[in-house]
């Protein structure tokens, strides 16, 4: 259906893509595989009309095309569903679907009836059982994604590009997504699927194209590939997930949380977290697993003192009872959090590496009034070296670094406060395999140095490989605890979807 030949793209002298070839077939899912920075996004931006100036040819349905902008690409039938969804939160599903191409009746007014009807049809087709009048903000992320797919169908898109579609949705929502993709295949749509999660690709993809350093490495049938072969092609060498040896766990209780509760804002009746009790030993990596909405992120935020007026808990740190009413006080007490969304909650993207690393600890680097530049610079250099942060200098703006390096900067910022407990919420989301392994290694080293680590993850293989002990959450409460050796995908998932009522 679509053939891209010898695509080259340069940004001010730097080659992003070099002679890349891609073939998409109707009714098939093609996986684009590659590390961050391999050129996947650039290629997708060319296909969807974001960049007009590139070398090479794109042949779409037999005609050579060159889209001037995204609108033209959309009209021709190429839709892209970005990782960050493109919907207007306070408009309804119908209004979002028809945004920019509203149907007009003979009175030159909006034909609301027709638009609503069409939306209803599409939602039914995609098995989303909500009213077309629902506001986007009232939908779950997985449902919003379905709306994006509906948008693509409304355009009669024949090529649908999905960029990391499962990065923000829960396992059950993934199943719905895969069902929808299977349906799209039956309607002979060509689907481009980009994901870091290889297991998914084996489930859903028919073909693959591996990119590395802006070049096509190989294309072929997914069936002929194995997990290890794919990884080998992506990084050019073998990678092993580092298995934690449990050597560092002590029997010293570092953190003890008793009867932690959290009320929903504006609704005293509804409890987001109910009677959470657990202990964390120093040197231990405690994994917390749960599906979307289980309350994992809320638990992390509450432990960092973000909901002082809504929460209640007895917390003991190093056998001392602690009370804190803000993140500032929690950090002072020895807690630190690497948040789930590093761009939104972890970094000040417009500031440089040094400033971000020292942000939480700068108040301790002052000679009476003024910041001691040397102390701060030493701190930045220390962590750039220790965490192997790849940056031209400490003055580089954080915005320009890759996801893995950005994540390391957030971790550095937390470590600079010299915490006793380090909480990491989805620390490897959206970063490539190499960087993931480095982060796993780092977590193990930090635990070995005596820190207590809490790691939230929604990826089962990851949490099983890294954690010493796994708490499973469902519906705001802990439903099971497993030691690493007794945890299996089966029993963890069972606990995560347990219906406690």
């Amino acid at each position: 259906m679509l053939v891209a030949e010898n695509i080259c793209k340069r940004f001010s002298g730097i080659t992003a893509l070099e002679n890349v070839n891609l073939t998409l077939t109707a009714g098939k899912v093609t996986a684009i595989i590659g590390e961050n920075g391999a050129g996947k996004s650039t290629l997708m931006k060319i296909l969807s009309g974001v960049y007009e100036d590139y070398e090479g040819n794109i042949v779409f349905k037999g005609n050579t095309v060159r889209f001037k902008n995204t609108r033209e690409a959309q009209k021709a039938g190429i839709a892209i569903i970005h990782q960050e969804l493109n919907l207007v939160p306070h408009l309804s599903i119908t209004e979002n679907l028809f945004l920019g191409r509203e149907l007009i009746n003979s009175w030159a007014m909006l034909d609301k009836k027709a638009m609503r009807l069409r939306t209803e049809e599409l939602l039914e087709k995609l098995k989303l059982s909500v009213s077309p009048d629902t506001l986007i903000t009232d939908l779950k992320v997985g449902q919003q994604q379905v709306v994006e797919i509906a948008k693509a169908l409304l355009y009669d898109a024949e090529v649908i590009i999905m960029d990391e579609p499962t990065s923000a949705i829960s396992e059950s929502e993934v199943d719905v997504l895969f069902e929808n993709i299977a349906n799209l295949k039956n309607q002979s749509k060509a689907i481009v699927y980009i994901s870091h999660k290889l297991n998914e690709l084996f489930k859903i993809a028919d073909h693959y194209t591996v990119l590395r350093d802006g070049k096509t490495i190989e294309s072929g049938d997914m069936q002929a590939m194995t997990h290890d072969m794919l990884i080998h092609k992506m990084v050019g060498r073998d990678i092993e997930i580092i298995r934690n040896t449990n050597a560092s766990i002590t029997k010293n209780t570092l953190l003890k949380v008793d009867e932690l509760c959290l009320n929903k804002l504006g609704n005293e009746q509804k409890q987001l977290l109910k009677n959470i009790c657990f202990e964390l030993y120093s040197g231990e990596i405690l994994g917390i697993f749960g599906l979307m909405g289980a309350g994992r992120t809320e638990l992390m935020e509450t432990l960092l003192g973000m909901h002082p007026n809504l929460s209640n808990a007895t917390i003991t740190l190093n056998n001392q009872p602690v009370k804190y009413k803000s993140a500032a006080e929690a950090i002072k007490a020895g807690m630190a959090l690497v948040p789930e969304d590093r761009k939104k909650d972890g970094l000040v993207l417009g500031l440089d590496v040094k400033t971000n690393i020292s942000l939480s600890s700068i108040n301790k680097m002052q000679d009476t009034w003024l910041i001691n530049n040397k102390t701060e610079l030493d701190l930045a250099h220390k962590y750039i070296k220790a965490l192997k942060i790849k940056t031209p200098s400490e003055k580089q703006t954080v915005k320009n670094l890759s996801g893995g390096n950005q994540q390391k900067i957030v971790i550095a910022k937390c470590l600079a406060t010299q915490p006793k407990v380090l909480m990491l919420d989805e620390p490897t989301r959206g970063i490539d395999i190499n960087a993931k392994n480095e982060i796993y290694k780092l977590i193990a080293e930090l635990a070995a140095s005596g820190l207590g680590i809490i790691m939230v993850s929604s990826e089962l293989p990851e949490i099983m490989a890294v954690a010493d002990r796994i708490l499973v959450m469902a519906d705001g409460t802990i439903t099971a605890t497993f030691n690493a050796n007794e945890a299996t995908e089966d029993n963890i998932l069972k606990a995560a979807i347990a219906d406690i009522n």
Binding site: G13, A328, L347, L359, N363, M365
Partner: protein
């Protein structure tokens, strides 16, 4: 690579280059411009806007805005003038408190800081958007000024007080010394202190700053207080220069100060900008005002030209940040 570096270097100095070109242009057309008298005159005039704009820059860096500076300026000037002239009388228990020059000025500054703190309090405690909170204060402080002055100017404040606005020290006008001190303190705060870091961090990403353990409310409270206090500094200078506290002083000063901030390259969405940029912005506006008067441009046209310059500055700034 080298080319982009040169371009960013150029961008850094573009307001300076614009200022130099502007001065050369005016000097070419009017021989009165580049005289010592006129230079000191311009600098004296822009001192007030510089003080206000420095405070405004701090506020804008946190991605806020302070529309109340003009009214706060008027109120604090009137407070200082009133206390200096007639003190406070409590007829009920026969108490009279007189004020020395220093005492009256200190009272003015404190009132300015308190009004600013009130802005900060409504913004942080009740989550009132800064635009609305300070718009309310714009009206409140103007009303308080009219109440305090009963609608009449407070004049004849004595030679010592007049010295602040019109006097000289070591051959340089006193207001220039004052604004230089304000600039220096603000540069140190933004570049060398943790508070400065927090101001940029909050403007860049408020939620991440909060999660990093920064006390957002405290920082904002301090920043709005500083803005209020610097408006009071401006108020004292204006009152002293005219030897009179006018109830309608400072009207639309907030616009000139926002213009200086914007021309100086500070992003209205916060997190990006410098004090020195704002100072340059204030000087450009001041020189432009002065030049247009010297060139006998009609006051009506002056406004049109000023607006055009603001637009141009922001358009150039946008084009530059796109190249990054």
């Amino acid at each position: 690579m080298i080319l982009t570096q040169q371009r960013t270097q150029l961008a850094k100095f573009q307001s300076l280059i614009a200022l130099v070109l502007l001065c050369m242009g005016i000097a070419f057309m009017s021989d009165k411009f580049l005289t010592i008298d006129n230079t000191w005159n311009v600098m004296r005039q822009i001192s007030v806007n510089i003080c206000i704009s420095v405070g405004m820059t701090l506020v804008v860096l946190t991605s806020g805005i302070d529309l109340s500076v003009g009214s706060v300026l008027a109120f604090c000037g009137a407070i200082t003038a009133g206390l200096l002239k007639s003190g406070i009388e409590f007829p009920s228990n026969n108490l009279f408190i007189g004020f020395t020059l220093l005492g009256a000025m200190l009272a003015g500054l404190i009132v300015g800081a308190l009004l600013g703190a009130f802005n900060g309090w409504t913004i942080t405690r009740f989550k009132v958007p800064p635009f609305v909170a300070t718009l309310a204060m714009l009206t409140i402080a103007r009303g308080l000024t009219l109440l305090w002055t009963k609608g009449f100017p407070i004049s004849n404040l004595g030679d010592n007080f007049a010295h602040i606005g019109t006097g000289w020290f070591l051959g340089i006008p006193v207001p220039v010394w004052i604004s230089a001190a304000v600039i220096a303190s603000a540069v140190i705060i933004t570049q060398k202190t943790a508070l400065g870091r927090y101001i940029y961090a909050i403007g860049g990403n408020e939620h991440a700053s909060k999660l990093s353990g920064i006390n957002i409310n405290k920082v904002k409270l301090i920043v709005y207080s500083i803005a209020g206090m610097l408006a009071a500094v401006g108020g004292i200078m204006v009152t002293s220069r005219l030897d009179s506290a006018q109830p309608n002083a400072g009207i639309s000063y907030e616009l000139d100060s926002i213009a200086a901030v914007v021309i100086g390259g500070t992003s209205l969405s916060g997190g990006r900008g410098t004090i020195m940029g704002t100072v340059l912005g204030a000087i450009i506006i001041g020189v432009l005002n002065n030049g247009l008067v010297l060139l006998n441009v009609s006051p009506f046209w002056q406004q049109v030209v000023k607006g055009g310059v603001i637009l141009l500055a922001v358009i150039i700034d946008k084009a530059n940040s796109k190249n990054d």
